[in-house]
């Protein structure tokens, strides 16, 4: 079993939690998104119906995925779109590089794509002499700061405006000490306009791929995907196999829930449908597996592929909000990050970065049963003999202990007495990590069993 202690979730979270005021600020910023989401969802009476339809439509598509992917490819070809297949991240990067090298691309502008993060595409292209410019403002900020994203929708949510101001002063020459978001955004606009106009190629992620049209849908608020894809003559779109939907009607269902659930907007500013390249241009779609077919072989994990990457589960998660996006040892943080990343987590800790409260499943626009999937990951880790340090030693004992009525009743009686009689300072060490940030409970007078016998029996 490999354990790199420094990447264990609890350890990373502890580092994030050292600055208490920042944690509060982070938690509140995300909760504000959750509140906006609630208002947007509450404003349309059919919200729950849309979640149900979205879920069923995605399950239908995933259970007929080969048919829809085949149809999507055939229709793309009719629209003069080249389709490429990659079984993993390495093959994806190789394909992208081949296309760019063939066109002697020196600079590529890119809009947000969690898939290319998952494939670690940027460093691969940079090593081969291609300049990669992330154009979503949040992504550009973290790219300049040489950091990975800490959230899938608002990637620089962990940074304060003063930090962005200092970064832009150093990299873009904005005024020293300036931290006004409007001023900084305008500076980024000017800087990135030059990049759009001088790029040789553009790449975007894909929000939905429409099988019966052979078209890809890309959603942004900033317009960066469309500024990119519509200036240079070469456009590339990377998508996971799970992004395909049957038709325009299906895409409409997801477009109704995506932005409402992400930021509380009724729809993203731009929802763009590319059904072929511009005049004289070239359009490529790269379809990537990278572990998705493995997930589909497990009935419970498969449901995580219904996800449309709105980030709603991150915003509501009590653990994510207080431990930050860098504590998960995977590209995607939060509940969905655990659901699709726990199998890659060599610290075997992120499956436990969850209270199983179920808030994520409750807000999910396609009803991904996130808490059920995370619980399932714990079982898979146990079955594989990969329980994190400690749990594999004491959990079997706890199990035996709790299975014995006599042992449990006896020790609980002792614990109740001890909590009443002994000073907290003496007992606190026995509570271990649990008691680190918690007070010991007030002992009840009797066990629940005794209470029940007396009052209801």
């Amino acid at each position: 079993m490999s354990t790199s202690t420094s990447n264990v979730h609890a350890h990373k979270a502890e580092i994030f939690c050292r600055d208490e005021s920042r944690v509060d600020w982070h938690s509140k910023a995300l909760w504000a998104l959750r509140e906006k989401r609630d208002r947007a969802a509450g404003s349309i009476p059919e919200w729950e119906q849309l979640r149900q339809i979205g879920s069923e439509m995605k399950l239908h598509t995933l259970s007929h995925l080969a048919d829809y992917l085949e149809k999507f490819e055939q229709n793309c070809i009719k629209n003069n779109i080249s389709v490429h297949w990659a079984k993993d991240g390495a093959e994806h990067n190789r394909i992208v590089h081949e296309i760019l090298a063939k066109h002697q691309v020196k600079k590529i502008v890119k809009s947000k794509s969690m898939l290319t993060e998952e494939c670690h595409m940027n460093p691969y292209l940079e090593e081969r002499g291609i300049e990669v410019i992330d154009t979503d403002l949040g992504e550009r900020i973290i790219q300049l700061a040489k950091m990975p994203p800490s959230h899938i929708v608002v990637p620089a949510i962990h940074m304060k405006k003063e930090e962005v101001g200092d970064l832009f002063h150093e990299k873009l020459g904005t005024d020293a000490g300036a931290s006004d978001p409007l001023y900084l955004t305008r500076a980024a606009r000017r800087h990135l306009r030059e990049q759009f106009l001088s790029a040789d190629a553009a790449m975007t992620g894909v929000n939905m791929a429409i099988a019966d049209k052979g078209a890809v849908v890309v959603c942004t608020n900033e317009g960066n995907a469309d500024m990119g894809a519509n200036l240079p003559k070469l456009q590339l779109h990377s998508m996971g196999i799970d992004k395909v939907v049957p038709d325009l009607d299906s895409a409409a269902v997801l477009l109704r829930t995506l932005a409402r659930n992400a930021t509380g907007q009724p729809i993203t500013t731009y929802s763009s449908f590319y059904r072929g390249p511009q005049d004289g241009g070239e359009m490529h779609v790269i379809i990537v597996d990278n572990g998705r077919t493995d997930m589909l072989k497990d009935k419970i994990l498969a449901e995580s592929l219904k996800c449309i990457r709105c980030g709603g589960c991150l915003n509501t998660c009590p653990v994510y909000r207080r431990s930050g996006g860098y504590s998960y040892n995977y590209t995607i943080p939060g509940p969905i990050g655990i659901a699709v990343g726990a199998q890659h987590d060599d610290t075997n800790s992120i499956a436990w970065a969850c209270t199983l409260c179920g808030s994520c499943s409750y807000v999910c626009p396609t009803k991904v049963p996130l808490d059920k999937i995370i619980h399932h990951h714990r079982r898979l880790k146990a079955e594989a003999g990969k329980l994190p340090y400690g749990k594999s030693n004491y959990m079997p004992l706890v199990g035996k202990f709790m299975a014995s009525e006599t042992a449990l009743n006896c020790s609980m009686a002792i614990a109740r007495t001890a909590l009443r009689m002994l000073p907290g300072s003496l007992l606190k060490p026995f509570s271990g990590a649990w008691g680190k940030y918690r007070e010991l409970p007030v002992a009840p007078n009797s066990s629940f069993e005794a209470w029940f016998k007396k009052n209801r029996g």
């Binding site: 403002l137 949510i157 317009g223 200036l231 009607d249 731009y270």
Partner: protein
Amino acid sequence: MSSKQEIFNALKSVAIEPQPMPCFDIAPRIDDLVGQFEANLTTVAGTLHRDGGLANLQATIDKHIAQGMQVISMVDGIKGNREVTATAHELRDIDYAVIPGDVGVAENGAIWVNNKNLGHRVTPFICENLLLVIEAKSIVANMHQAANLITLAPGEFGTYIAGPSKTADIEQALVVGAHGACSLNVYLT
């Protein structure tokens, strides 16, 4: 074996039971479509001009032109001072672009535009300010209805535009005007 073949082979062992496609039977809200549209357009930071139609729009544009602004119009009957350029990149100094919208969506303030009416596809994004023209009778209740009306022929590009470009990536502060247009005015005809 090709990667496609490998992926398709793996897909033979999908564990999800085959599910039927659900029925999309959602009742549209059809009361006061223009009012709904205006309310939602306002929330996405766009402005609706209900009265005056094309004459009002032309008067506005004439003022912009008098101030030395660069205006391109793709709407019949509206005159700008710039023509469609040879390359998309030459649109970089456009201050105002006037573009016809095909379908308006009341529930979210979005307007569908198709590339046949754009000259270059980048026009509605690269312009500093965007002016969209839409017929009141082209406004539908929701995205399900819009999906049946939009045109997207093979090879085409189309986009739903809901307001001017915006971002909240710096401390969640909303800034209107990110990479696309900095303002959106919609003229009803």
